[in-house]
Symmetry: C2
Subunit: 179 residues, 2 copies
């Protein structure tokens, strides 16, 4: 069995990477910047993550839990009696209006999959995870559609700098659900 001297070392590097991306973006991520943020020598970061892609995969996997936490805090969307469209609209609003830096961080890592094939499986996992969560309340096709709408509305808010309109979101979710 392989054991490490400092089992926290690897985790500390991932946490530091997330902070670096949050502050300076993926463009500001380097073995050195992570090493400085994690307060470990350069060789330690290159040893644990020989490629920056590996580090990004680990960071994305961990950051993905942010949205899941918001969902869990809201009871996991399991209340069949509640209005799902309204629930989702509220969920998005809470997520977007909360820790904005964290939101941008998650999105940036997620969107980075466009040019980094290594991240695509992780991005796909996230989409499937949300779809499964919704699958408990609706059919698979509608769930996939809802995920697409959520992604699209997040993009609109984050990319164009516009404000999030919860009423609009509820309306759109409702139409998709009314299929």
């Amino acid at each position: 069995m392989v054991r490490r001297y400092d089992p926290e070392r690897r985790q500390r590097i991932i946490d530091a990477a997330i902070r670096v991306v949050g502050e300076k973006g993926i463009a500001g991520l380097s073995h050195r910047s992570v090493a400085a943020e994690a307060d470990v020598p350069l060789g330690s970061t290159t040893y644990h993550f020989s490629t920056l892609d590996e580090l990004l995969v680990a960071a994305l996997r961990q950051a993905n839990e942010g949205f899941a936490k918001v969902v869990a805090a809201r009871g996991g969307l399991r209340d069949d009696r509640a209005d799902l469209a309204g629930e989702l609209a509220g969920l998005l609003g809470e997520w977007l209006s909360g820790d904005r830096a964290g939101v941008e961080l998650e999105c940036e890592l997620y969107l980075a999959a466009l040019r980094r094939p290594a991240l695509r499986p992780v991005a796909a996992e996230w989409a499937e995870g949300v779809a499964e969560l919704l699958g408990a309340r609706t059919d698979a096709v509608t769930a996939r559609a809802l995920v697409a709408v959520m992604d699209g509305m997040c993009l609109q808010v984050l990319l164009t700098g516009g404000a999030y309109d919860e009423g609009f979101a509820r309306e759109v979710f409702g139409r998709v659900l009314r299929g």
Copy 2:
């Protein structure tokens, strides 16, 4: 009136920037790489675009026309008799299955607005442009919703590496339109 010695110089640099981003991604964009691609000296690129952001803005503005061309080639969505949901689904399919490198290029520039505020107005212009195009066939709220759905479905295809399902797209567009 201010005239340049080489009126094409600036344009050639923009074209070169688009090619560079298409081949190596935004991460591979630098004053030097653009200069090499455009076959101009380094000083020329730094003179015309002192910041890479400026160059990206010009590139995004020019690349945005790619989708508009596909729309125009399809008659501009102005045929009221046709099924709008099917039209949009076909449009997306044609765009996504066409020049894939060009699609990724446009998306990457578009998504870069997340971390580069300078690009946001241009991204917003694009979204508004498409919404206006759709506004001729439906109300403003529905148009905005359709844009969000289009963005979201493109993301799903490009980020997760999944295939584009035109039937699914048509179904979702239909639901949003049936509001």
